[in-house]
Subunit: 353 residues, 2 copies
Amino acid sequence: MWRYRKLLPVPDGPVRYPLPIGGTPLLPVPALRRTLGTPHLWIKDETRNPTASNKDRATALVIEDGLRRGMDTITTASTGNAAVATAFGAAGAGMRAVIFVSTGCRPDKLALMTQAGAHVFRVPAGYAAAVDLSRAAARSFGWLDRNTGANPYTIEAKKTVAFEVWEQLGRRLPDVMIVPVGDGPTLVALDKGFAELVSCGHAGRQPRLIGVQAESCQPLVRAWFGAPAGPAELDPTATVADGIAVVRPAIGDAVLDAVRRGGGAMVAVTDNALLSAVTTLAARAGVGAEPAGAAALAGLARAVECGLVDRSETTVLLVTGREVKAGGGPAGPGRVAVVEGLDEVERALAGAC
Amino acid sequence: MWRYRKLLPVPDGPVRYPLPIGGTPLLPVPALRRTLGTPHLWIKDETRNPTASNKDRATALVIEDGLRRGMDTITTASTGNAAVATAFGAAGAGMRAVIFVSTGCRPDKLALMTQAGAHVFRVPAGYAAAVDLSRAAARSFGWLDRNTGANPYTIEAKKTVAFEVWEQLGRRLPDVMIVPVGDGPTLVALDKGFAELVSCGHAGRQPRLIGVQAESCQPLVRAWFGAPAGPAELDPTATVADGIAVVRPAIGDAVLDAVRRGGGAMVAVTDNALLSAVTTLAARAGVGAEPAGAAALAGLARAVECGLVDRSETTVLLVTGREVKAGGGPAGPGRVAVVEGLDEVERALAGAC
């Protein structure tokens, strides 16, 4: 990722973050192309990052910035993958990670975070409250704030995916790129990266961006159609795609702007389509993904059905992540506690240190 | 990996295998170095391969060879990771995979194989019988045989790790490399790669190789000390390190020769040490590993205790793999069946096609 540092907010001097990030493959997927009849289909495989998701890019740039400013603690709230990326990235960099999750966060994801030594606070009032608490803690205690939508470096980091796709396609852009959408920074960052390539004169026009959400949690698809979302369309617990199940996306308006600007669209897909996409990616491309990570493939089928994408177009699917396992090791020096306010956070950390 | 193709049995012409393999990072691990007092410690992180283990290298070279010879089916027996690598690699290349496992193979590993569309045969008589059946099927049906110890291309592929370490250290070799040992090809391949660097005049002498096994399944450690192994030292079900729990290693003699040649050693480690190594890798290096994959770190502690390694030496730990999840998707077009003989295999495949 540091290959593009002149276009990133990273001053001169050696990069201190120790884990290699980005430079993930753009796969030609011959067997999948034959199966789908899409001769110019590509997969940008972000599962090849250190914790197997694109969250590693944002984590790396935020921590690099923190290391240069002498900061010793990073915090974020997360539905899962961003927290795992933060815990492992902080561990590699010798920084403390303090993670806030909803009490609904899955035990296997918690195990990964604590194995990497993170302090994990579970917040009964849910994900939005966890975000508020993480941000308040960052302000009060002077911690590095990695929260999506709060730290613009997350978008700066993720825009490097656009640069890589352009280089890997032989310095040209695809017609369409299809992307899972939760809080929104992945799609917004692609738009920014492609826009910078156009402004630098490296490309004539941006690709269309198609954002994909799960049917049972599709606030931005509803907003795209200007239709109100019913309760069955805003239930983050009702989909297998937990990584993109966000009721109030942090930068939803920016997502809709980016999609509109490039002439793209938003589509919703069923859980059956998501699960089937996981299997098709494995069996026809040899790529492992979690359901949210495979959403772009489900979205492609939907987009073709709706006439939004032609099978002959150069189309890139962003596969954002796969699940890894905690591997059986016990929890690291971190701690897990349930908290409702900042004072409890402070007491728990004082006790742990 | 194909960067070294002049030293591999790959004729001219474009590489057909579609998944990028190898080129995994050699990590400087600053926080882990401080914790252990080992200023020149490195981790060669093989979890960055497509299915998160070093088995992907062997799979890629065997399939590349098969594609060039027009073969449409690959078979292997495996305790887990080699089977997963074969299933995904074959899927990516559009080839059929037929996998033989013992009936003790873990359900989550089976799910990964079937998700990738492999045909999986469970063999009640155990791993050794599964190997025999897979090899017999390869001979009878003209399939590509990827079995460890049967196909020399597995060692040719894995020797590229030695070339990468040499290049990544600035064209010099480490003093010591520590490696998990199950059937043996990973260690034997490193020895071959380092020996080729020495014969080409790129290095003066090979690094010492230290092989690591789990205490409860340590046939080669016992053989190294010339001592008979008791039943408690040959129980593959008694360790968390299932990936290296092999009672009769396929190329055990070659392992002992390679270790002896470089002035290395064999060490055994407890399950507690393996689990603790998993946590330390996560919390101090930001690297996820399964217990067998983390064995080199547990082996380092043991080797330092025994005076086999000095903390000031340039030491590379090979982290061989981490566990990934099937991600919730249903089984692919593959099938699972229990079989005891070749005729059942033939009938099951005829029914499935």
